[in-house]
Every structure is written in C-alpha cells, then in structure tokens.
Symmetry: D2
Subunit: 139 residues, 4 copies
C-alpha cells in the first residue's frame, strides 16, 4: 500500500472557517478527508473529460406494461460494446420500474449506450452518471 | 389507461432537419418519442426543483479493505429518514467496489443522505442522481 | 429565410397536461415555442459534445486589490488561441468584481482558457458556460 | 484584511501525485491556490443550495431580426424583482446576437427571471449560471 504524505495549505482564516462549518454540516470527521474528496472529484472529472475507461451507472424509469420493452432493454444490453457488469431492478409501484445498469467503457461508448436505452419507447426518464473505475483513483 | 392526444408543432425546416438527424443518431424510432422524452425530462427537472418526493440513485466507489467502512455504510443506510429501497454491490477489482444505493424521499433529504455516505473515510468518489418516482410522470 | 413546417406529436393526455402547466408557469406563450426551445437545447448539447466551434461565457469573481491580478487576467486574454470577443466588468462591492469574458472557439480550447483564468491567484470563483454561435442553430 | 493561517493535509503519495499533475496542466502556480479554489467552489455550491443572495449570469443567443424581441427583452429586465446590474451585447454574425445579463437576487428569483427571458420567441438558446456575490466568499 502507498505511504501517507502531508502537505500544508495556506489560506485566510475566514475561508478555513467557512470550510470547517460546511464539513461539519456534511458529517465529515476531519479536514483531510474533506480535502481528499475534493481532490478526487477534481481527478474524476478529468478522467471523464479525457475519455479514459470509466464506469457508467444508467438509471431508467419505465412502465413494464409497455409491450416488448423488457426484451428490447435486454437485447440492447447484449449488443453494446460497453461491458455491462450488472443490473438491478426495483419495483416503484404497480406500473413503474427503476432499472440501474452498471457498465464499463470509454465515456463516449457509455453515452451512446445510455442514449440507446433512454430512447426506447416506454422508458419515461433516464440518466447516465460517470464515475471512476477506482483503479486510477488513489486513496 | 390514458388516451393519446395529438398537437402540432410549427418550426423552421432547418430546425426540424437538425432534430431528425440527431434523433436518428441516438436511435429514436420516431419524432413523437423524441419529443415525449424532452418533455418528460423538463418535467422531472421541475419535480426536483420543487422538492417533491423523488428517487435518488447514489453511486459510491470505495476500497473495501478500509476498516469498518462496510459497517459504517450499512449503519448510515439504516439511520437515514430517506426510504432506502435497494442496494447493489459490484466488484470492480481486488480493491475497488462500486455500490449503488436506491432511495426515495424529498430531494433535500436525499442530498443529506448522499453527503453522509460520500463523506465516509475510504469512499473515494460518490455521486447522487435524482429521477422521478414515475408516479407523477405520464407516459 | 426558411419556411415554417409543421409536424404532429402524439402523446398521452396527462403528459400534455403536465407540459402545458409547466409552460404556463415559465411564461411561454404557446406550445410550439416550448418545443422549439427543448429541441434547440438538445442540439446545442450535441454541438458541444462534438467539439464544434461554440461560444464560451466565462464568469469570474475576484478581488481587484490583489496585486497584478488585473494585468494577469488581461495578458491571459491576449495569449489564448480562443478568439476573445468582449469582456464586461461589474463592481459588486468595494473589494469584489465580476468579470464576464465572451470568447469563441472549440470546446476544449475554451475549457483550457477558462481553467487558466480561474487558476489565477485572487480569482475566488469562476465558471464556464458554453452555448451555440447561433449559426448552426435554426430558428 | 484577514490573517493567513495554515493547516496540513494527510493523503496518499499517489493522490498527491495525481493532484500535482492536474494542477500543472491547468496552470496553477501552487497547491494552496488549487485547494483554495476547490474549497471556494464547494462553498459557492452551498450558497446556491441554501437560496442565499447570489449573482446570476444569463446568456442568451437570439436573432435580432425577430420583431419586438429586443423590446420584450428590455421590458422583462425592467419588470423582474431581481436586481439587474448590467448587460452586454455581442454581435455574433448578421443574424445572431449574444446578450449577457448580470443580476443579483435569490437563486429562485434568478431562475424565474432567466426562464422568462429564455421563453421569449426568437431567443434560440439560453443558460443561467449562478455564482457568489463574493461578499460571503473569503479569499
């Protein structure tokens, strides 16, 4: 495992005060953990912008009574060049389902895959969120 | 079930041409399906802004070797006032896990819940995405 | 000028009702104008994703008492390969200024230019927003 | 003026390495300036979420040949309860104009004001960006 190092940050008293207050509200235990999260978020944004391999989480809300919808969604998951890892199905009510599909791939491939799922008739709403595979993202 | 109605849209030839081209690229079968998706996306944004009950999908990337991390994440899922519906766990590699937590609640409660999970030591990256419960979102 | 054409959209009564209510809240005069805005927004997102020439509006909040800040910001505006069109300066209070810089270029160039300005010491906050040059965006 | 303080951050060597590389790419001169920007961005997001008074920059792309458009935009700027500070007009080409309107107010008021401008017939595209007034945002 990697060694821990330290560096020191110089900032105004007010900025540190504002930061501490917000960390406290959000339930952080210490300043270093807050700073590490800000840095990692900054790095993930860069991984995405550079079209590296990332993980996409696609959230779909749909009415499962629409004919052929479930089959179409499954075929599309088999046909994509993105690597589909897992999918979770949640019953929201009698009509509405939520499906969460997790896949790996380059950002552009994941965008095209998500567009293809969201465009299916009967899918009411869909969103794609990209995050890191973790491998490139240090602790 | 609800009845289908029609309305007609007036627009420039060029705007229709650009729209058709993009729908085709994204794999839509017809214009009405594209328009319905744009309208529903517009409505979901409003549900979120108005602090209605929505569904939150929280994506966490973390290193499961960090001591107590898994227990802390589970306790926080039991302690929130958001209604946690389901969670899915994906092994990304030897160290890195992806956890997707699905919960219902008002946008503000879901934000606070997600902040609490993302702030845990060992969680490398986290994102919250809000979508509709489907109930208020017509076909 | 281009000719107006019409097409008709089929959707559920409830979806049309929800759309009409939201258009009314937002002050739209008719449905066609709302649909055209949704379509154009969809097209602009695509122009940005495809790295076409777009317009960037960079908003900077800074304290003009920081030594050399104003000169540094001006030099950076002269040195970029983005085409800087115009800049507006607003006095927010005794210390704080808002500067809005408008430039044309490919999305990536505009991102790098904005990063360079936001990174200057004394700039407290900055954001880049991308929009269309209008030329590719039909009425 | 406020006094400068320091605190020290503990993190893995890899995370510091990734951060340094990205800071260098984005033209930052030192780590403290990078950290301060991340903290301020985190605080601004909170100011916006809490509906404090913020500054809104509204970007509009429109065709000035559309009848009555310019007058309508000006009336709406006079009628809003947001405090309109300044506006800048840029000629993009023979048809297309970019207008940047800067206003202060609570986030919700600025959203409604922007919606009203974007909804005007002839406005092809519009976006609102919120930032800090600077007053609450320490150096």
């Amino acid at each position: 495992m990697s060694e821990a190092v330290r560096f020191s940050v110089s900032l105004s008293e007010e900025l540190m005060g504002g930061f501490d207050k917000l960390l406290d509200q959000k339930g952080y235990e210490n300043r270093s953990e807050g700073i590490r999260d800000l840095i990692r978020d900054f790095l993930v944004q860069e991984e995405i912008d550079k079209n590296r391999e990332v993980v996409g989480v696609i959230t779909l809300v749909y009415d499962h009574h629409v004919r052929e919808l479930t089959n179409t969604l499954i075929s599309k998951q088999h046909d994509t060049t993105a690597e589909v890892i897992s999918a979770m199905h949640v019953h929201l009510d009698h009509h509405n389902c939520l499906e969460v599909v997790v896949a790996r791939g380059k950002g552009k491939v994941l965008h095209a895959f998500a567009d293809g799922l969201i465009g299916v008739r009967g899918v009411k709403h869909g969103k794609l969120v990209l995050t890191s595979t973790g491998a490139e993202l240090p602790k």
